[in-house]
């Protein structure tokens, strides 16, 4: 049962890890992108559209294309969302909170619209699409994983998106702390005026970090549909995972490598109610609250601690404009 719980916790946590890694990269540039839930949703539906169209138009699936097409569609869709956010907040200097919330509403609407349309195309009565064939390719794990007992079940039974998520998180951590690009990016998020005076192009960094962050977050939506939900898209099935990913950013104190552990913890807390016997519905809902409670407690603790490294980027949420005095 422990192995089963941990395996499920990791599966549950991976979409959160994508979302939080993407949001960390975005926030490090000083952009507070509250559109992450919408972007993840759009990333998911993008992949679903790609997979659906491919499945509909070919009799036999090519394993490479079956993975590649949904992946590209997902990336493109979330990149577009990131560009909208950047254009509004960086180029037009719109309010970041409002823009982000609007994107979330917009993204969920777009997702549900296409979800409904595809279901109609598929001739289904309920707004849900079944893409098991594609999902099987995504969930392909190492063949010998089953033979390794609990170790195989916990660590090796996952699809490639899981390992990609961890690799991206570690890669982002490396970039942020060990490279010049990471140093400049952090400077932009901490103090754009300083970065500007040092000759760093603030706008470019904000655009790049936010768009890359959006793509990473969008992959979280894809991994949810293809890995976790076994290729079944149902409208609003994604739930509040997007917000949980944003909470995870705070919990991971803006460090993608900590986010790996945090995501598994949050994933576990998210499903723990299934593993506690004799819980009624209200009890389950109480347990679902735990990740948020943990985040709030953690916020209180870090705020009291006032350790400078554990604080959000200093100019998070503020637009930057050079000529202002």
């Amino acid at each position: 049962m422990w192995a089963d719980f941990l395996q499920r916790a990791i599966m549950q946590g991976i979409p959160l890890l994508y979302g939080s890694t993407g949001e960390i990269m975005t926030e490090k540039s000083g952009n507070l992108n509250l559109g992450i839930p919408g972007i993840m949703y759009v990333g998911g539906i993008g992949g679903v559209i790609g997979a659906f169209l491919y499945e509909q138009n070919t009799a036999v699936l090519n394993p490479f294309l079956a993975v590649f097409l949904p992946l590209m569609c997902s990336i493109l869709a979330s990149l577009l969302m990131g560009l909208i956010y950047c254009f509004l907040t960086v180029s037009l200097r719109a309010n970041q909170n409002v823009t982000g919330l609007a994107l979330t509403t917009f993204g969920v609407g777009i997702g549900n619209f296409f979800g409904g349309s595809l279901a109609k195309l598929a001739g289904s009565d309920v707004p849900s699409i079944n893409l098991t064939a594609t999902s099987n390719y995504f969930r392909q794990s190492l063949p010998f994983a089953k033979d390794l007992g609990w170790f195989g079940q916990i660590f090796l039974s996952h699809g490639f998106l899981t390992y990609l998520a961890i690799a991206i998180a570690l890669g982002c951590s490396f970039v942020l702390t060990k490279t010049r690009v990471g140093l400049y990016l952090r400077a932009v998020g901490e103090n754009p005026a300083t970065a500007d005076a040092a000759g760093i192009s603030v706008g470019t960094y904000k655009y790049l970090a936010t768009c890359i962050g959006s793509v990473i977050a969008g992959l979280g939506g894809l991994s949810y549909v293809m890995d976790y939900a076994n290729g079944v898209w149902s409208n609003d099935g994604f739930g509040d995972r997007g917000w949980l990913a944003i909470a995870l950013v705070i919990f991971a104190v803006w460090r993608p490598n900590l986010s790996i552990l945090g995501s598994i913890l949050f994933g576990g807390l998210y499903i723990i109610h299934n593993y506690i016997p004799d819980l009624d519905v209200s009890g389950q809902e109480l347990f679902k609250m735990i990740p948020y409670l943990v985040t709030i407690v953690f916020l209180v603790v870090t705020s009291i601690g006032r350790k400078r490294e554990a604080q959000p980027p200093a100019s998070l949420g503020l637009p930057y404009f050079r000529e202002e005095r």
């Binding site: 400049y184 400077a187 901490e190 005076a197 040092a198 000759g199 400078r308």
Partner: protein, 520 residues
């Protein structure tokens, strides 16, 4: 040989530089130059355009007119990056540092270096630079752990690390203790001897005289001339800095029936970091008199007014004397509401009009009502009184507005100020404090404000007027109190004082032992 030829032309030369912000000209055809191995001071009052000028050299602003020559070649500096390329380094008054980064990380920020990112290697080079010029700095320390002077050191090393040959320092001593200032000057002299061209912006005369080789003076955005430090003195520089006396036709009525209204004794206050901003301020504001306050910007004027208005925590005594009964009320430690409940009619026109004085998104009537919102007993707002008052203000002060329902942020600065001053005066104050009430206003609007202040004086109000234009202060006030670095450096009679006298007081360093004996 070629190297020597280059040394003969100035390191940097400005020719007819002009910069305008809207219809305000910040720099009007300024020309100056600095040679290698020379320290040039740029001297001027607040708002004389010193910082704007330097920002154009360092690529923050772009000049509207004029040319810049580096080593004899004309250059175009469009961004800070361009400035680095021409080996120009600027140390801003407000440091441009990332707090959570270490000194070394801040120093290499934005450098275009190829190869591996190796912080150890950079640290080594920074250490070498420190040794060469005698800096005392640990490159791996985080900036937020540093003192102001250490942060400044980081800024200077940042410029040197980039190979700066021309170093610009914007008021570098404003935040330093005298000991730290001496240390900085030693380092600057060493850099000068190393062949660097150094420009230092300042308004402290004694620093100019002790440090620089030449002084260029700006006066209200215009270039007033350059002199060799060895051939000048404080009096001559002050005269250049404040300019010729301009006669303004501001009426000044005789002071009549003047009685002490507000007595401030031994007032001191600190900023959130614990540095003293006001030190032992003692003065009396009398009824029927305008007390002008002069000083370099940031000498503690704002804190003084806020302290009286009950917005600052202070030490010392603030005593108000009731006009009718002569009763004394202590205002220290009271909130603005408590002060009002004592029957003290105190009006305050803050320098930050739309930030502290009014709400930009609310219309004229609502802004006028901010003063009287708690009047009446009904739960609903009664706008009729405020509306009447607003109409009256618009008529009498010639406020230009589309309607009374226009958000005030859409009005011009002058009209915003008229609404604000009008509202404060309508409360029939016994003490009226106005901080820079004519800043950014055109000449007509300014005169309206002067007239209103004079009216209040004639009505027997004690008017405290913080100004920056010495001509206006001299023409309008009855007495002028000069503040220098949070201390009173003198209180003079505005009818007999000269501009030079006030200019000297503004830039004077008041010594601890001189305290007290300065009254009138």
């Amino acid at each position: 040989m070629r190297e020597e030829v280059q040394r003969e032309v100035p390191a940097i030369r400005l020719e007819g530089i002009t910069k305008r912000f809207g219809n305000v000209t910040a720099n009007d055809h300024v020309s100056l130059h600095v040679d290698h191995g020379q320290i040039l001071s740029i001297l001027g009052e607040n708002g004389s355009g010193k910082t704007t000028l330097m920002n154009m050299i360092s690529g923050i602003y772009f000049p509207d007119e004029g040319q810049i020559f580096v080593d004899g070649r004309e250059v175009v500096i469009r961004s800070p990056k361009d400035a680095f390329r021409y080996k120009i380094g600027m140390i801003h008054q407000h440091f441009k540092l990332v707090d959570v980064f270490s000194a070394a990380e801040n120093i290499i920020l934005g450098l275009e270096e190829k190869g591996k990112y190796n912080i150890k290697q950079y640290t080594q080079r920074i250490r070498e630079l420190c040794e060469q010029y005698g800096f005392d700095l640990d490159p791996s320390r985080k900036v937020y752990e540093m003192s102001v002077s250490e942060k400044q050191t980081v800024e200077i090393i940042k410029a040197l690390y980039r190979g700066a040959d021309i170093l610009i320092l914007d008021e570098p001593t404003a935040v330093l203790t005298p000991q730290e200032t001496e240390k900085l000057f030693d380092i600057l002299r060493r850099m000068r001897d190393d062949g660097k061209a150094i420009i230092i912006i300042t308004h402290k005369l004694h620093e100019v005289l002790s440090l620089s080789d030449r002084v260029s003076v700006l006066c209200k955005g215009k270039y007033a001339g350059t002199v060799n430090t060895g051939e000048t003195n404080e009096a001559e520089l002050t005269e250049m800095m404040v300019g010729k006396k301009v006669s303004l036709n501001i009426e000044r009525s005789k002071v009549k029936d003047s009685k002490p209204r507000l007595m401030v004794t031994g007032l001191s206050c600190c900023d959130p970091e614990g540095t003293k901003i006001l030190k032992d301020i003692t003065f009396t504001a009398n009824s029927g008199e305008i007390l002008g306050i002069a000083g370099i910007a940031g000498s503690g004027q704002r804190e003084l007014l806020e302290a009286i208005a009950g917005l600052q925590e202070v030490e010392g005594e603030i005593t108000y004397i009731q006009p009718k009964t002569g009763e004394k009320e202590n205002l220290r430690g009271k909130t603005p509401l408590q002060i009002r409940d004592l029957g003290v009619r105190l009006s305050f026109v803050p320098e930050d009009r739309l930030g502290m004085g009014m709400v930009g998104n609310m219309d004229l009537v609502d802004n006028v009502m901010l003063r009287s919102y708690s009047k009446g007993k009904s739960a609903f707002l009664d706008r009729s009184d405020s509306r009447e008052l607003t109409d009256k203000l618009i008529r009498e002060l010639e406020i230009v507005t589309p309607s009374v329902a226009t958000p005030v942020r859409r009005l011009s600065g002058g009209n915003v100020q008229k609404v604000l001053v009008g509202r404060e005066i309508a409360a029939a104050p016994t003490v009226l404090m106005a901080a820079y009430p004519v800043r950014g206003l055109d000449i007509n609007a300014s005169f309206t404000i002067y007239r209103l202040l004079n009216q209040q004086k004639e009505n027997g109000t004690a008017v405290i007027f913080v100004g920056e234009d010495l001509d206006v202060l001299l023409a309008l006030s009855d007495r002028i109190m000069v503040i220098s670095s949070g201390r009173i450096s003198g209180i003079v009679d505005a009818r007999s004082a000269s501009k030079e006298e006030i200019g000297l007081l503004m830039t004077r360093n008041v010594k601890e032992k001189e305290e007290g004996g300065e009254e009138q």
